[in-house]
Amino acid sequence: MLDSRLRGNDEGGCLMSFMPVVLWSDALVFLLLAAGIAAAWYVRRREHLLLPWQRVAHNSVAMASLLVLSLFLAVGLLDTLHFRMALPQANGGEKVYSSEVLSVFDKLVGPLRTHTEKTYSEPFALTLYAKESMTDAQGNVARDYPRLQYGGAHLSDASQRVEDIWKRALAGGGLGLLVGLLSFYLTHRKLHCASGCDRAVSIATLILTTLIGAIANLAAVYHVLGTDKVGQDVLYLSLKSIRTGLIIGTVTTLVTLPLALFLGVAAGYFRGWVDDVIQYVYTVLSSIPSVLLIAAAVLMMQVTIDTHPQWFDTAASRADLRLVFLCLILGMTSWTGLCRLLRGETLKLREMEYIQAAQSFGVSSLRILTRHIMPNVMHIILIALVMDFSALVLAEAVLSYVGVGVDPSMISFGTMINAARLEMGREPMVWWALAAAFGFMLVLVLAANLFADAVRDAFDPRLNRTESKA
């Protein structure tokens, strides 16, 4: 574990002291974030690079999807700042930290995490899902649905429930709407957005703020999406799953990107035996059906992790390393496609006049590759990146079902579906966990797909032409 053992300020008492924890995946996310910011800063100052992004910005569907995506991203990033709380009792002056790794997000949504019930309960329910034997004050034993410990605990009478839900939803929604309108008013005075771009986005913003307001207000006292088998709030689980999905979707492509870029461009540019070797490597890798290769690699990774328990000091770091390995393995199986595309494009580019001119001027191969070829294949990389994202998020769920996905203790859409699937046979059916996982996944993937389409349309020169002709 990349563990910067910084001590929190001790004088703040036990509650305030914590130890920041940087898990491997956190480090990768921070690296990505830094790279993203650097790239944005670089593009901002160059007109020709900015142009396609402006085209994306004028696509209202894309901007609305981006809004949704950035919301998911915000949750994911907050969930990436990890720390370990100090345990209250000082062990002979030596501080002892809890083995439980928490994130800033966990702290923000505090009650969602800590309000666990005994077992399943329906969304907005006041009682548990199953009947239990209860003894009342007179000592009579009756079988009835017990009240939840937290869900709707402020209501004395079950009949107030519907009215209370409406009241809270309206109040929260109203507040959210107000915040949305206010932020709108403030930004609009500053930014003069072109007429077409902002209507869909503004409507989407208002809908989102209203929705968030209503849900936040309700989630404080109800289990908006019910609870799962061990009584955890399903909304909390769904929100926590976002980080796993985002990491699988982004880190996977990016860890293997250098490999694909370097090998693909080298194969296309140098041809000859370099090309033969590289082609051989990716043909071998791509000839193994990807699910099987992933399954085999993950099985072997499990053996390595199981036989080296001394590598991990917390359960979270173990689950996290497995996630990073999973990303690497997924990347290993998917880089071949990108590599092939890059090789093809480089083969085309190297015959261009400007490359031949550079060659006849005696510019070194390395310089030609970095200055003339790589910038001209960047659009392919970008398109591959955004197009792969949604497929990877969906793949995570399937792999977790097959048993070769993330660690079973890690909260993800796949593990949620897997756990909920076993309860389909119950009567009455436990549907909410499944519905929540599929719903969140649908929103994330749909937004990613729509945004990816817009990016592809803006960057792919070939597609632009055919679209305008048709």
Binding site: V284, I288, L292, Q302, V398, R421, L442
Partner: protein, 325 residues
């Protein structure tokens, strides 16, 4: 063409050797057989004797590459590499952990896998191409837009949802077909119809959209304008000209998966309890039966390479300009 095929088959040999070496490295070098034994035996029962016994039962108690304890050719053949990896080239997959012959099991399970995969593939192809042609016919209208939007929505839904949702609605609510199971012969229909339908539904989004892109690319070409100028109806242009010319890109993606149909689908088969190769693989993964997973990896890559060769052959069928030599 025969010469071409022979060359392609010869070219496949180094690739299969590569696959073989890769799986060998993955299964025996990254983790030693001792590690595997320790993991499978669990923490409680790990004793040196137990590990030795586990290895001996599975034939893992030999050196990896060179056995210096014996003489002659046995030096190379009495090793893990020769007995577990090289033997796969003659399709000798050895035995699974429960002692059954993997080769026989594969032969037995291919049937049920094909009973699902083949109809899904064929009917699916027809449905996707027709839907894409329909969208192309109404291109740049509201109908086309709605079609594309539907495709994007459908492809954003997890494949698991189609299976779980389909099983719930059709089998549990409507009681039309059994939830899972399989029977041979004519009885199999009621078991396979739902997996097939779900398999088709799961692919509509991405496939139809992909074919629509191909058709749109073709429809912008000059020969289409010529055909229209001749006064041909739009339908005729689409079906006889565009469809035929779009065959090459379509075949590129389609033919390669035909041999892989034998492998079945992991998800569908395990959800519906079909005793095919897909559920065999998934059971092996869950039971951590390494020899079965290794065999399936090798079989899968052989079938993939067969698919690539078939793709090339199929080009000559649809495009007379293509000559393989």
């Amino acid at each position: 063409m025969i010469a071409y095929l022979i060359r392609r088959i010869l070219y496949a040999v180094p690739i299969l050797i590569g696959v073989n070496l890769l799986t060998f490295a993955l299964f025996f070098v990254v983790n030693t057989p001792d590690d595997m034994a320790r993991m499978q035996l669990g923490i409680k029962r790990v004793t040196p004797e137990a590990i030795e016994k586990w290895k001996q039962q599975r034939g893992y108690d030999k050196p990896l590459f060179v056995n210096s304890a014996v003489g002659g050719t046995d030096k190379l053949t009495d090793t893990i590499f020769w007995q577990k990896s090289a033997s796969m080239f003659v399709f000798d997959f050895g035995y699974s952990d429960d002692g059954r012959s993997i080769g026989r099991e594969i032969a037995k399970r291919m049937g049920p896998s094909l009973a699902i995969a083949l109809p899904t593939f064929l009917i699916g192809l027809i449905v996707y191409v027709s839907f894409a042609l329909l969208m192309t016919l109404f291109r740049a209208t509201a109908l086309d837009m709605a079609g594309v939007a539907l495709c994007v929505l459908l492809m954003s839904i997890s494949g698991l949802f189609y299976i779980i949702g389909g099983q719930f609605v059709v089998s549990k609510l409507w009681h039309l077909v059994p939830i899972s199971g399989y029977a041979g012969g004519a009885d199999s229909f009621k078991f396979v119809v739902l997996p097939i339908l779900i398999g088709i539904a799961g692919g509509v989004g991405s496939s139809s959209r992909w074919y629509r892109t191909i058709f749109l690319e073709e429809i912008g070409k000059d020969y289409v304008r010529t055909a229209r100028a001749k006064g041909l109806s739009e339908l005729r242009v689409l079906f006889t000209h565009v469809l035929k010319n779009a065959m090459i890109p379509i075949l590129t993606g389609v033919v390669v998966v035909i041999p892989l149909l034998f492998m079945g689908s992991l998800l569908t088969e395990s959800f519906f309890g079909i005793p095919g190769l897909g559920s065999y693989t998934i059971d092996a993964i869950n039971a951590q039966d390494f020899s079965v997973v290794r065999a399936m990896v090798f079989l899968g890559s052989v079938l993939y390479i067969v698919g690539l060769i078939l793709t090339d052959v199929s080009y000559t069928v649809v495009d007379p300009r293509v000559r393989l030599q």
